[in-house]
């Protein structure tokens, strides 16, 4: 009997190990969900290109399609402006399985708005052999089936999905623009843009696997699902489900369709007119049967990166790294320094338009003038020097009340920045430990900011802009309690206790006054600032660091 138990336990352990092998994660990738046959993760365009250096076909497809061999965060793609189409190059969902490789981009054809989308475009490169890639432009229509219902039931995919036939144009921006602007190339498979009969039809012969998404891992109830405003960051956020359609049981029609320019049958070794040595291109999906010819398709909606905090944190630590190092190098000066940043969004990336050096008020070196920064800027980085003259004048080691309040100025949409999102605003303080950032949670929008922060802000007469109102009692108490505790820590505690004590003080005071902001930290790391961002939170009164 004992032997049987042992055998059973051993079998269970083995099964556990097998499961682990199946659910292998890629270091550094954001794994979405586990699927027995594949893995899901999110990359940016640079990471994507670097991930498949041996896949010459894919490299060629992407480089020719996007007309660029590398995508530096500082470079904004001109194609986006030229064609009025943006493709989010910062949040690309990738699915890898032995017989399926799918790369899904979000395509933006109009300014994005807060809240859940009414329709959404995804560009998908997919392949069953990692050599021949198809490309399709998908349209999700939420006019009949609400986004929320779809997310909770990804099996509804065929009922709201249609596709725009693409052409043989190399430049994907031009290709999309051409396709959507030609009357004869209207969304294929959709009837009055409401019912996608073609996708429903092809499910008849396809074997479809539907995997539900994961819910937000926050403590609140009910749990948020993908696409809903969520304050969590990183892998604690909700993820979308997906559908996998295998067409191997479908009757294979004739080789890839003609009409409008055939690209040749898959396996011919190239796209339209491909001759020896010609660049490999993706096969554009022109009709519904092209999906069948592809062998299989992987469909996972990508609404882009809605973790605005994380996106901006990565922008700051890459785009402004020289400024961060400069500010860090001046911490022994008896003076505060700082910069304000005017940014531009294109293709899901931030680029720098202008950097403004913050002045010190006349005769006062212990502060920088944050008010002089225009409200259409995205945020500020400034130094908190070790010593501002004497112990009695020691600067705030961490955020002061005016630092926290300045965040609200940059959280507003403006005429110059109608696409700015509240959770992209930031105030950063460089001190001897590293760079601290304060940001509004991801769920804060222009619509709810005034209500959510009613105890802290004033609203202009039109009702569309908020600013911190420091005469609100909570600000006055926060200012006093922060200063008192920072002073006590500096005076009474040892150096090795101070960092966490300052963080604890800030987090506790924010919690007690219900000032809902996120605090992040990037370690100085010997002056390189090259580590991972951490989110700071309280757990039983102690600071908890969560790597992002």
């Amino acid at each position: 009997m004992k032997k049987i138990y042992c055998l059973l336990v051993a079998s269970l352990l083995m099964l556990g190990c097998m499961q682990e092998d199946i659910y292998k994660q890629v270091p550094g990738d954001t794994e979405y969900a586990a699927h027995p046959k594949g893995r899901l993760f999110v990359l940016n365009q640079n990471e994507l290109l670097k991930k498949y250096p041996q896949n010459g076909n894919l490299q060629s497809v992407l480089e020719h399609g996007f007309k660029q061999s590398s995508f530096l965060p500082t470079t904004l793609n001109d194609s986006a402006e030229q064609y009025g189409i943006e493709i989010d190059l910062d949040h690309i969902q990738v699915y890898e399985a032995p017989q399926m490789h799918a790369i899904t981009y979000t395509v933006m054809m109009e300014p994005q708005h807060d809240g859940q989308p009414q329709e959404l475009y995804n560009l998908v490169y997919f392949s069953t052999d990692y050599e021949q890639y198809y490309v399709t432009l998908l349209r999700y229509d939420f006019s009949q089936i609400p986004f929320r219902d779809f997310i909770s039931n990804p099996g509804l995919t065929p009922q709201l999905l249609s596709f725009f036939p693409l052409n043989d144009i190399d430049n994907i921006y031009e290709n999309i623009k051409y396709s959507i602007s030609r009357p004869s190339m209207q969304a294929y498979g959709a009837v009055n843009h409401s019912l996608s009969v073609s996708f429903i039809n092809i499910t008849d012969c396809a074997r479809t696997v539907v995997v539900e998404g994961t819910l937000c891992k926050g403590g609140g109830m009910p749990k948020h699902q993908y696409g809903e405003d969520c304050s969590m960051t990183g892998n604690k956020r909700a993820t979308p489900g997906y559908s996998y359609m295998d067409f191997s049981d479908c009757r294979q029609p004739n080789p890839v369709s003609g009409g409008g320019g055939s690209v040749g049958a898959p396996g011919a070794g190239g796209g339209s007119g491909a001759g020896p040595g010609a660049p490999v291109k993706a096969y554009p999906v022109k009709e519904i049967d092209d999906f069948k010819r592809s062998g299989a398709v992987f469909l996972q909606i990508n609404i882009g990166n809605t973790d605005h905090n994380l996106k901006m944190l990565k922008t700051v630590s890459s785009l402004f790294i020289d400024d961060i190092k400069e500010l860090s190098g001046k911490l022994n000066d008896i003076k505060e320094y700082g910069y304000g940043y005017n940014l531009k969004k294109a293709n899901g990336l931030f680029g720098l338009i202008n950097r403004f050096r913050l002045p010190n008020p006349a005769g006062v070196n212990t502060s920088v003038d944050m008010e002089s920064v225009f409200s259409y800027y995205y945020g500020i980085l400034h130094s908190h020097p070790e010593n501002t003259g004497s112990l009695s004048k020691k600067g705030s080691p961490l955020f002061s009340a005016p630092d926290l309040g300045a965040l609200f100025k940059f959280a507003n949409k403006t005429t110059a920045k109608p696409d700015k999102i509240a959770a992209e605003a930031f105030i950063g303080a460089v001190n001897k430990y590293g760079l601290y950032m304060v940001m509004l949670p991801n769920e804060v929008t222009q619509a709810n900011i005034a209500t959510k922060y009613a105890d802290f802000v004033k609203v202009n007469t039109i009702g569309n802009t908020v600013r911190a109102d420091y005469d609100k009692p909570k600000w006055i108490d926060i200012a006093k309690e922060l200063k008192d505790e920072y002073q006590r820590i500096e005076k009474d505690l040892g150096d090795n206790e101070k960092k966490e004590a300052h963080e604890t003080a800030l987090l506790k005071i924010l919690e007690e006054f219900k000032l809902d902001v996120n605090i992040y930290f990037l370690d100085k790391n010997g002056g390189s600032f090259n580590g991972s961002w951490q989110k700071l939170s309280l757990n039983n009164g102690r600071v908890q660091y969560t790597n992002l």
């Binding site: 502060s367 009340a401 004033k458 600013r467 109102d469 006055i476 006093k480 200063k483 005076k491």
Partner: protein, 213 residues
């Protein structure tokens, strides 16, 4: 019988609300100021030398009077604290421009409802004139009435008492532009009405006050 139930219920609610606080010294403690369940008490009587007196500064065209009192507040149903609160009277060229001296006799809901209220104590440095006891200065927050200017919301001055050659107590306050914390009082936000208050009644400066008889 019904009355007894009501009275019992009332007493029960009162008992529930009567929170007990652990007393710690306001200026020498291991707890964060504001920590739930503590009473931050001026056990050493640091406030005593300031209270129950009127202090006066006189210059060519300005007279400033300060008066302090000690009050105890329960704040945010979280903690209890002693506070040194103050009123101020400013007369410029014979005209009284501000007078809140009477407020120190009133009990307001919170220390921050007074024009002047205490913060933390500050370590002694060479610029602390006549300082002989540790951390002799105290940071006092200062906010003039009807303020609508963010730059004037978090003002403070540093205060202490030293003794002159005649061994008379002199109250010194040091009020500098650093108290603006980087904010410009003349700043007008284009999205909001300009603040009506652009100047303080109390100019920045260092002032010595004598104790009025």
């Amino acid at each position: 019988m019904k009355t007894i139930y009501i009275i019992s219920a009332f007493i029960f609610v009162q008992l529930l609300q009567a929170q007990t606080y652990t007393m710690v010294d306001l200026f020498n403690r291991n707890q964060r100021y504001g920590e739930r369940g503590y009473y931050f008490h001026d056990t050493q009587g640091y406030f005593n030398i300031y209270k129950n007196a009127t202090w006066q500064h006189t210059s060519a065209n300005m007279t400033i009077q300060l008066r302090f009192n000690v009050k105890t507040f329960v704040k945010h149903n979280r903690f209890k604290t002693d506070a040194l609160v103050g009123g101020i009277r400013i007369v410029k060229s014979g005209t009284e421009v501000l007078n809140t001296l009477y407020e120190v006799q009133q009990l307001k809901p919170s220390d921050i409802n007074y024009v002047v209220y205490n913060g933390h104590r500050i370590p002694n440095t060479p610029d602390c004139f006549g300082c002989i006891i540790p951390d002799q200065r105290i940071r006092m927050y200062y906010r003039e009435p009807d303020n609508d200017n963010n730059a004037f919301s978090f003002l403070y001055f540093d205060m202490h008492i030293y003794y002159d050659r005649q061994n008379q107590p002199v109250l010194r306050i040091v009020f500098t532009e650093e108290a603006l914390q980087g904010m410009n009082p003349a700043y007008v936000d284009p999205d909001f009405p300009a603040p009506s208050k652009t100047q303080l009644f109390l100019p920045f400066g260092t002032y010595d006050f004598v104790k009025m008889p």
